[in-house]
Amino acid sequence: MLSRVAERLYWAARYLERAENTARLISVYDNLLYDLPKDLLDISWFNLIDLNSAAETYNRRYKVQNERNVVKFLVVDDDNLSSITSAINAVRENLRTTRDVIPPAAWEQVNELNIYVTKHAKDGLRRALRHEFLTEIIERSQALNGLLTGTLIRDEAWQFLKLGRNIERADMTTRILDAGAAVLENNKIFKTSNPAQLIWGNVLRSQGAYMSYRRAVKSTVRGSDVARFLLDEVLLPRSVAYCSDQIKQAATNLSQASGRKQPVKTDLPVYTIEEEDDLGADFRNYLNDLQLAIGDLHLQVCNNWFARD
C-alpha cells in the first residue's frame, strides 16, 4: 500500500470519529446546561472551546463567548478544521483520494453524509432542531463505520482506519471527560442539589454508555466510577483502555505486515481515582497528559509508515 494512501485513510478515520465525537460533545452540553442558572450558561459553553484547545482560533473569529458562537464554531465554521462540516468534508476528500481501496458503497455513503451536512448544518445552530441534527450525524457516522466493518477486507487499509479511529476516539473520550470535570469545577451553583450525578449521567449518555455502566458497575452514577469506567473498562468500545488495546493490535499487525521493525509504544499514563475529590484539578491535568501521550502515538505512526524517504 502506498504511504500516501495509508496516511489519507488514517486521516479519513480520524476526521469521521472527530465529527461524530464533536456531535456527542455538543449534545452533552445541550442536555446539561439548561439546568444551570442562566448567567452561567455562556461561560460554560466556552468550556467546549477550551478543552478542544481551540481558544486561539475561536478568539480570532468571535468577540463574544456565547452559546450561539460556540455552537457555530463547532458545527459550521470553515476556519475550524475540526468543526463538523470541516471534518466531514475532510473525510470525503481523504476517501476521494483513496477510492481505489474502499468499497464503492462506502464512497456513496460518505457522499450522502456530506450532502446531508451541507444541507442541514444550520439546523445544528437552532435549539429546536439541534438534537435531531446531532443524532443524525452520529447515526450516519456509525453507519459508515458499520459498512466498513462489515465489508472491508482486514488488510492494511483496515488497520490504518482502525488506528485512526481509535487514536481519535481515545483522544475525544478524554475531552468528553474533561467537559464533565470542567462544568463541575466552574459551576458551584446549580438548580439541582446533586449536579454531579446530572453531569456524569450526561457524559455517559453522550458516549452511549449509560446502559452499559448501569449493568457493569451496578451502582448509582458517581463521578469517580464514571471516570474509571470511561478510562479503564477494557470491554467498553469507547473507553481509553479499549481504544489503546485496538491501537496496539493494529500497530502490531502493521509492523509485521510491513516489515518495519519500529514497534509502536502504546503505553499510556495512569491515574488513580478513588473518590470524588480525585476529579479536580489533578484529574484535568492528567487528562491533558493523556492527550499528549496520544499525540505522541500519532507521531510514532507518522514516522513509521507515512514518511517519504
Binding site: 500500500m1 502506498l2 504511504s3 500516501r4 494512501v5 495509508a6 476528500e93 476521494r96 483520494t97 483513496t98 477510492r99 481505489d100 481501496v101 464503492p104 464512497w107 456513496e108 457522499n111 450522502e112 450532502i115 492494511e156 502493521l254 505486515a257 510491513s258 516489515g259 518495519r260 509508515w305 517519504r308 524517504d309
Partner: protein, 484 residues
C-alpha cells in the same frame, strides 16, 4: 399527460430514435412506447432519481473557472441512445482497423519514416507537429504499439452516415461515465432492461487490465500496474480513481513514484519501495518527466523516460503517441489505412481542409461562415469557430489567425449532427445534438467498447458537446434485436 412522439419536432434533422414522420425507429419502438406510457409525473420522478443517484455516486468532473475549481455533477439524460447491434459491429471493425493503422503509422514515424519517404505524408507535417517527440525516436515499445487506449469521436450526419470526427490518442477520458451511465440507467429504468437485449458494457475495466498486463516488461504472474494521475484538481480525477478501483490497481501521484539508479520505477509504500511494471498515465507527455520535458513539472517523475526507453517500465499511452492525433494528420488517416493495411477505410473521415494548402486556405477564408474551424492541437472544444453560429467579428478574428499561422488550423463542413430526444426542463423531450466516443484498446489484442460515451449538447441547436463546455451525456444501448 404523456409523451406524444408525433409532436416531437425533428424535421430536417436525423434523429437517432424517431424518424421524420414522428414514428420511433425499429430498435427504439419498445423504449418509445414505454416512455410515453410512463406519463410525465413518473418520468419526472425518474429524472429526480437519476440526479440523486449521480450525486450519491459522486460522479463529477472539475471545471476550471476564475472563482476556483468547481467539482460539478455531470448532467445525465435518462433517455438512452440506441444503436442496432448489426450497425455497431461494422463500426467496431472500422475502429479496430483505424487504430491498427494509426499504431503502425506512429511506429513508422519514430523509426524508418517509410510513409514519408514514399511521399504519402509530407515531412513538414511531422517536423512542425507539436506532438512529435524527438526523444522517442528509435524506442521499441511492446508489440510496436504506442497508442494503447484510443477514444475516437464519431458523429452521424444528416444523411444518417457515421463519420470519425477525431481520434484522441493522448489521454482520452470519458469511459468511466460510460460505465456509470449504465449503472444509473439500470436503477432508473429497470423495467426496460428486462425486455431489451442491451449488450453489456461492464467488461471494460478487466479488458483494460488485461491489455495493460500484457505490456509488463517483467514476465511475472502479477505485474504491478498503477494509474498515474495529476491529482484531485484534474478534471478527470473521478475517472482516474474509478478505473484504478475497478482494476484493483494503485492510484498514484508523481510524488509516490521514483526512478532509482537501476533505471527501474518504484513506488513508495508502507513496506518501503516496490517495483512498478506498467503505468497507465493520465498526465500529458509534457509533464511526465521534468528531466526531459517541462522542467517545472511537479506532476511527473524524474527519470521516467530513462526507465521507459530502457524497457524497464511500460507507459500507456506511450509518450509521443499524440503525433497521430494531430488534426492535420487526421486528414491523412484514410491514406494511412490504405498504405499500411492495403484496405479501404471502413468508416469515412469528415472532409477536411488544411489551411496549410493554399487552395484549401482560400476556400476556408471564403466560406468561413459555413465551416467549423479548429486549431490543430487543442482538445476539449476550446478555441474553435462554428461558422453558422458565429458573429462577423469572430469570423474576422479567425481569418486573421489562419493567415498568421495556417499550419495550426483545419476546417470542416458544419455537419448536421444527429439528435436524440432529451429531457431538458420542459415535460416533453426535445431533440438535442450528440456524438459518440467509443474506446479502443490495443496491446496484444484489440478490443472496442460496446458502444461508448454519448455526449449531448444540452443547449438547443448547439453542436458543442464537451463536458467542459456545458454538455451532458446519455447511456448508449447497443441492442441486438435479432438475437433476442
Amino acid at each position: 399527460m404523456s409523451i406524444k412522439w408525433k409532436d416531437y419536432e425533428c424535421e430536417n434533422l436525423y434523429d437517432e430514435l424517431i424518424n421524420s414522420r414522428g414514428n420511433p425507429r425499429q430498435p427504439a419502438k419498445r423504449l418509445a412506447t414505454y416512455l410515453s406510457k410512463l406519463g410525465v409525473d413518473e418520468l419526472n420522478k425518474r429524472r429526480q432519481l437519476a440526479d440523486a443517484t449521480v450525486q450519491d455516486m459522486g460522479v463529477s468532473f472539475t471545471v476550471y473557472t476564475d472563482e476556483g475549481n468547481i467539482d460539478r455533477a455531470w448532467p445525465f439524460d435518462i433517455i438512452p441512445r440506441i444503436i442496432p447491434a448489426k450497425e455497431w459491429n461494422q463500426i467496431a471493425l472500422g475502429l479496430k482497423q483505424r487504430l491498427r493503422a494509426l499504431n503502425l503509422f506512429i511506429n513508422d514515424i519514430y523509426h524508418e519514416q517509410a510513409i514519408i519517404k514514399d511521399g504519402i505524408v509530407p515531412s513538414y507535417l511531422i517536423e512542425n507537429s507539436k506532438n512529435f517527440r524527438p526523444e522517442c525516436v528509435g524506442v521499441k515499445p511492446a508489440f510496436g504499439v504506442w497508442a494503447h487506449i484510443c477514444g475516437s469521436d464519431l458523429v452521424r450526419d444528416g444523411d444518417g452516415k457515421m463519420y470519425v470526427l477525431e481520434d484522441n490518442l493522448r489521454v482520452p477520458s470519458g469511459v468511466s461515465y460510460m460505465l456509470e451511465n449504465r449503472a444509473i440507467t439500470k436503477r432508473v429504468l429497470p423495467e426496460v432492461f428486462g425486455r431489451e437485449n442491451v449488450l453489456p458494457v461492464d467488461d471494460y475495466p478487466s479488458r483494460l487490465f488485461d491489455m495493460l498486463a500484457a505490456l509488463s516488461p517483467r514476465k511475472v504472474k502479477q505485474p504491478e500496474i498503477v494509474v498515474l494521475t495529476p491529482g484531485i484538481y484534474n478534471s478527470a480525477y473521478f475517472e482516474h480513481a474509478f478505473l484504478a478501483q475497478q482494476m484493483g490497481a494503485e492510484l498514484v501521484e508523481g510524488s509516490d513514484l521514483l526512478v532509482d539508479s537501476d533505471d527501474c520505477v518504484y513506488m513508495r509504500t508502507i513496506r518501503g519501495r516496490e517495483r512498478v511494471d506498467v503505468i497507465y498515465r493520465r498526465i500529458d507527455d509534457m509533464f511526465i518527466d521534468p528531466e526531459v520535458f517541462d522542467k517545472d513539472s511537479l506532476l511527473g517523475v524524474p527519470g521516467l523516460m530513462r526507465a521507459w526507453k530502457k524497457g524497464n517500465v511500460a507507459l500507456a499511452n506511450a509518450p509521443g503517441a499524440g503525433v497521430a492525433d494531430d488534426k492535420v494528420i487526421y486528414a491523412y488517416v484514410p491514406k494511412i489505412i490504405e498504405y499500411y493495411l492495403d484496405e479501404k477505410p471502413l468508416i469515412p473521415n469528415v472532409p477536411t481542409y488544411l489551411c496549410e494548402n493554399e487552395d484549401d486556405r482560400n476556400y476556408v477564408i471564403e466560406h468561413i461562415a459555413e465551416l467549423v474551424v479548429k486549431p490543430a492541437n487543442e482538445s476539449g472544444g476550446y478555441g474553435m469557430l462554428v461558422g453558422p453560429h458565429s458573429t462577423k467579428k469572430d469570423q474576422d478574428k479567425f481569418v486573421k489567425l489562419i493567415k498568421e499561422n495556417p499550419r495550426n488550423y483545419i476546417a470542416q463542413p458544419t455537419l448536421a449532427l444527429s439528435t436524440a430526444p432529451t429531457l431538458v426542463g420542459s415535460d416533453n423531450p426535445e431533440p438535442r445534438h450528440l456524438d459518440l466516443r467509443p474506446f479502443i484498446l490495443q496491446s496484444k489484442d484489440l478490443y472496442v467498447t460496446t458502444g461508448g460515451l454519448t455526449r449531448v449538447a444540452m443547449v438547443k441547436g448547439s453542436l458543442v458537446v464537451n463536458s467542459s463546455q456545458g454538455g451532458g451525456s446519455k447511456d448508449t444501448w447497443i441492442v441486438d434485436s435479432e438475437g433476442a
